[in-house]
Symmetry: C2
DNA sequence: ACAAATAGAACGAACGTTCGATCTTTTCGA
DNA sequence: TCGAAAAGATCGAACGTTCGTTCTATTTGT
């Protein structure tokens, strides 16, 4: 299985690439569908009592607000974004905005929470189907890249604005990041135990893999400029990883 | 020369590691010595006319100011740091502070400028001595890691606060980052032409290497927690890179 | 004593947040 | 089916606070 997928990628790259593009499109669709549900659900959780609102309005405005926050913040930082900026960009007045969050800090936490929720759900689901370590690793890498491609502004925002969080929420963000690394690490350990991966420090290897995966959403502009697609990047990264971890 | 250092590292890792620690110490010393010179020089350049000052005072206070800015900014961001925070941490009054920069934006640019100046100077010097591509690559990687280890707050600050720069200075920062990547890329191309490196996309390989190098100063806390030294990380990264680029 | 260097109160601008007025949509008896 | 009352949703001026910056009086060093 290991050598099979590797040989296939090397001999017929166009076919392999095309197949993966289709998968990415499906991936996007399933994301878009669940977005509204997640908005609504987490908004309900927040204010269990008091103002009850209509689903359609809540989802529409939260979408506007989040979109505006990500656009402005990813340009000049969350702290530099004023509520007047947000009002202008989202098309909602100051008063209207404050019906959806209790303050600027709360808004920051909402965005971080959303991103963690979506990521964790989808990533864990991705490696559930795979059986052997190499397939798990590939699934993990590709899913992470697809996910961060589809939600790039969210991932970028989460990374850059972690330091603005305070106390408890900050630790949640760090823990979430470590969890991804641990998932990779566990796959590497399993591969070593089954004798298909080389005996190298798995935690350090996982760190490097994580660093490379993060580069995709942190330097998105650079890769877009060079016309590197997600699928091309994913293929390249997997080749790189396999050359290191797979026993030959 | 190439195969000598490589064989030595592979056969006698403890000795090699010890030797590199010594090199890192020397590296630190040479940095500390040139720090004052660079402060003084770039401060003179800034205000060619007007207030003439005493060297000792300028260097001492710039050191305090920069140290305070880096400490506060790397915790909660440059935008969130108030001038009153800076006054408290640096031990200088508001009035005293404004004798060293014309405003908060200017202060940001000074720090970015310093970091770029030091990095460019030292990095270019590092690969000048090497002859064959693999030795150049190793020299580049190790120097970059040592430099970012010695100046971690500066590197972290530069990375996180680039978006706060405006216009011209922002492009300089981006250009500086691309330059490092291009240095790696050029070494890879040279290696391919000389037939010692495998034929893979050199720009994409350089991107991945850069991403891994950046991880060292961006996640410094994580590696410190796990007691990973610079030398251990450098060794691991070089093994990783060699497994990918070196023809076997 | 004199210039260099510092102190910290003072100022206007901009910030996050609030709140009563206003507009929009839904509800429901006739 | 229709229109008026109720509820939902939006608006933007106004408030108190904090920010970056300035300025003059004072201290420091030689």
């Amino acid at each position: 299985m290991m050598s099979e997928s590797k040989a296939e990628a090397a001999v017929t790259p166009p076919a392999s690439r095309k197949r993966r593009v289709i998968r990415f499109d499906r991936f996007m669709e399933s994301l878009h569908l669940s977005k509204q549900e997640i908005y609504r659900r987490s908004f309900d959780e927040k204010q269990s009592e008091g103002k009850i609102r209509k689903d359609r309005t809540v989802v529409r405005n939260l979408d506007r607000i989040f979109g505006a926050v990500l656009k402005i913040s990813n340009q000049k930082g969350f702290k530099a974004m004023s509520m007047r900026d947000l009002s202008r960009e989202s098309g909602l007045s100051m008063g209207a905005l404050y019906n959806y969050f209790s303050g600027k800090d709360d808004l920051l936490e909402m965005l971080q929470h959303q991103q963690r929720l979506m990521s964790a759900t989808i990533l864990e689901r991705s490696i559930a189907g795979a059986v052997d370590p190499l397939e798990k690793l590939r699934s993990m890498v590709v899913t992470h890249l697809y996910l961060s491609e589809a939600m790039q502004p969210w991932f970028y925002f989460s990374y850059m604005e972690t330091k603005n969080l305070s106390g408890e929420e900050r630790e949640k963000a760090i823990e979430s990041e470590r969890a991804t690394e641990k998932m990779i690490c566990d796959i590497l350990i399993e591969g070593q135990q089954k004798g298909v991966f080389v005996e190298k420090d798995p935690l350090l290897s996982a760190s490097l893999i994580k660093a490379v995966l993060q580069d995709w959403y942190l330097k998105r502009g650079k890769y877009a400029e060079r016309k590197i697609t997600v699928d091309r990047f994913a293929e390249f990264v997997m080749d790189w990883i396999e050359a290191w971890v797979v026993k030959m």
